[in-house]
């Protein structure tokens, strides 16, 4: 049984301002009386579909990511999920108590103390008083605002406010968890606590819906993702593929500039090629990847260098390779051409990365052209390791002092998200 079912759901909105005074009621009633009741499913003047014929399901233990550009219908979908909006058409079924980590402090009243607000917000989220009382210490502990729990919330910083709200939400025992960009709350330590809590719920088989612009978080947390655009599901599948699809959809290659008078040499483009020479934004851990840097030189450039950097989406510097360090000479370049960097085994774990490409002068000091973090790609794999780098490895085991080590074979069942590794380990141990 699916915990969340969206079946042909559509939601209509109207553009422009709606006047909420009686002055407008009379004309609209007259219009209605003349024309009869309007057809709910047809679009009237100024109306548009924020969500159109959307269908998806989320089952137990699944973490569904929803990604898409601004105005794609993500927020509307979220509001439909949390019952704040009712669909114009279609059916939404949600089995069990919904825990929404959205506007976690919406019920806070500034004049009430933290303690009073915990009880109030808890009740708003559907927690009985006895349950809040039981979890109160844990909530306060999680939020880290112990010292201010009897201070009115109006004296809290916005971070404290959000942390306390999130702590309450995190202690709900929902049947379905819905999250909207909560990872932006608090400092790194607090974010880690949040992610741990989410994984814990996921591990218990509680389905999760995660709406985010943080593509890296979606790839890491989710087992499946849908790409939403213009109110409809454009892609449904593995998170990394959905992210790749998203990027393909809005491909605006910023590097398509040529050389000019003040720029004697320029990068004309960067292509990412798979083993078969096909251009792709999607690569696999341990498989080949070729980065092709196209250039154009207006005048002969003597021995320039090409540099390539790879960054994780959250800014981690994963690798930096250039021809100067490798002591490769490109000779004198003029006109158009390309330089290939062939990576035989891509040692990156699943996630989203970006490539920066640069052409440097012979001394390797001054860039002639630099395209910073302009070329994104995603990595997928069955590997369940943590971190960014895949280290080829082998486990062996020697039982006793003089025993001959025995090789242990790794069993790689396809598991969609590496972040579930912790859960998987628990399953295997228990």
């Amino acid at each position: 049984m699916s915990a969340v079912i969206f079946e042909g759901v559509s939601k209509k909105f109207r553009r422009g301002e709606r006047h909420d005074s009686l002055r407008d009621l009379v004309p609209s009633l007259v219009k209605r009386a003349m024309r009869g009741a309007p057809d709910r499913t047809a679009l009237a003047d100024q109306e548009f579909w924020a969500v159109k014929d959307m269908s998806f399901k989320v089952g137990a233990g699944e973490a569904l990511g929803i990604i898409g550009p601004n105005g794609a219908g993500k927020s509307t979908t979220l509001k439909l999920l949390t019952k704040i909006l009712r669909p114009t058409k279609g059916r939404i079924e949600i089995n069990g108590r919904v825990g929404a980590l959205i506007e976690v402090a919406a019920g806070f009243h500034p004049d009430l103390t933290g303690r009073e607000n915990v009880y109030l917000q808890g009740a708003i989220m559907g927690m009985p008083r006895a349950e809040i009382a039981r979890k109160f210490d844990a909530i306060v502990d999680f939020s880290g605002v112990q010292d201010f729990i009897d201070t009115p919330v109006k004296r809290y910083s916005s971070g404290m406010n959000a942390r306390l709200g999130f702590a309450i939400a995190a202690h709900l025992d929902p049947d379905v968890l819905i999250i909207d960009e909560v990872l932006s709350v608090g400092d790194v330590g607090f974010q880690e606590k949040c992610v741990t809590r989410m994984r814990e719920l996921l591990g218990r088989g509680i389905p999760l819906v995660f709406v985010s612009h943080n593509l890296s978080a979606v790839v890491q947390l989710c087992t499946r993702a849908i790409l939403v655009d213009r109110g409809a599901v454009q892609f449904d599948g593995r998170p990394a593929e959905a992210v790749a699809e998203f990027r393909k959809a809005r491909r605006d290659n910023p590097a398509a500039s040529g050389a000019s008078a003040d720029k004697p040499m320029a990068i004309t483009g960067v292509q990412l090629l798979q083993a078969d020479g096909e251009s792709s934004p999607l690569f696999t851990t341990g498989k080949p990847m070729t980065i092709r840097v196209g250039y154009e030189a207006r005048e002969p450039i003597h021995k320039p260098h090409v540099a390539i950097d790879i960054h994780g989406v959250d800014g981690v510097y994963c690798a930096g390779i250039n021809t100067r360090m490798d002591d490769c000479s490109l000779g004198t370049l003029e006109g158009r051409g390309f330089v290939d960097l062939a990576i035989s085994k891509l040692a990156l774990l699943p996630g989203c990365y970006t490539i920066s490409a640069g052409i440097l002068d012979p001394q390797g000091l001054r860039p002639l052209d630099l395209q910073e973090r302009a070329f994104p790609f995603s990595v997928v794999s069955d590997r369940r390791d943590f971190g960014f780098v895949y280290l080829e490895h082998q486990w062996t085991h020697g039982h006793g002092v003089d025993a001959r080590p025995v090789r242990l074979e790794a069993r790689l069942s396809p598991r969609p998200a590496r972040s579930l590794a912790a859960v998987a380990v628990q399953e295997e141990l228990g």
Binding site: F13, R18, D20, S21, L22, R23, L25, K79, T82, K83, I84, L85, R86, V98, A100, I102, E103, A106, G107, H109, D111, L112, E116, Y119, L120, A123, I124, M125, G126, P128, R129
Partner: protein, 261 residues
């Protein structure tokens, strides 16, 4: 009918939130005002003093009981009704972050406004008891009907609260209109003088005012040792139907609230 069962069941499920929201408003009043519940007593007392001067000195009328008790009794009941509605009318529009961002039955807003006023009602009733003791008003068996009469007043108030809170969400004019209506309505009800004295065609129209029958019944059981008459029972029955209808209507419109706020 099934919708009604559904909404009542849902409200029951969220009963703790209703209590919490009421407690929030009471707590806030305590924190934000120096007088706290004192205001619940102060207002009807001042009004009683004013009307006592008018109707015992300027235009003396005979109401059968000492006038201050008569007026205070009417004002306590009326103030409950009027202040419930005054809180209700903006209860949805003044909580936009909750209405547009979190789901729970929206009735909780007008209902908690009514509950807050019930607390005020209880507090000012203590003063009423003191006045009754002072003027040596005797009570008899009809007093046993008091809970039924109070329930009828609450039912009618809750039904009206649902309608006006919803109406104000869709049309903000309601808030202004409300102030005028409530002022006129008070003098069209047996609050500070018996409306039966009006007579004629206007009197016939005013007899349709449900609040008159409710407040008359309230006074009958408290001050006159009389059982409430037929008019009260009809009003009670109509109030129950009104509440059922208003609740269903509110529920059907509820999902459009977030879009219209």
């Amino acid at each position: 009918m099934s919708i009604l069962m559904e909404v009542v069941a849902e409200q029951w499920e969220y009963r703790e939130l209703l209590v919490r929201m009421t407690a929030r408003d009471l707590l806030l009043r305590y924190k934000q005002t120096v007088m706290g519940f004192g205001w619940a007593i102060f207002m009807p007392l001042v009004n009683t003093a004013i009307f006592s001067v008018i109707f015992t000195r300027v235009a003396a009328i005979d109401v059968g009981t000492p006038y201050p008790v008569y007026a205070f009794c009417g004002l306590v009941a009326w103030n409950f009704f009027a202040s419930s509605l005054r809180f209700s009318v903006t209860s949805l529009t003044s909580n936009p972050s909750l209405v547009t961002k979190v789901y729970f039955p929206r009735e909780i807003f007008p209902f908690s406004a009514v509950l807050v006023s019930i607390v005020d009602f209880a507090v000012s009733s203590l003063v009423l008891v003191a006045l009754m003791l002072y003027y040596r008003v005797e009570v008899g068996w009809p007093l046993l009907m008091l809970p039924v009469v109070v329930l009828a007043i609450i039912v009618f108030t809750a039904a009206t609260a649902l309608v006006i809170s919803m109406a104000n969400l869709f049309y903000r004019d309601v808030k202004y209109l409300f102030e005028i209506v409530i002022a006129v309505w008070m003098f069209a009800t047996s609050v500070v003088y018996p409306i039966g004295r009006v007579g004629g065609k206007l009197g016939a129209v005013l007899a349709l005012n449900p609040m008159t029958h409710l407040i008359d019944a309230f006074r009958a059981v408290l001050l006159d040792q009389r059982m409430p008459g037929m008019a009260f029972h009809l009003t009670f029955a109509a109030s129950i139907l009104m509440l059922a209808g208003a609740w269903v209507m509110f529920h059907l419109a509820e999902f459009d609230f977030a879009e219209n706020l």
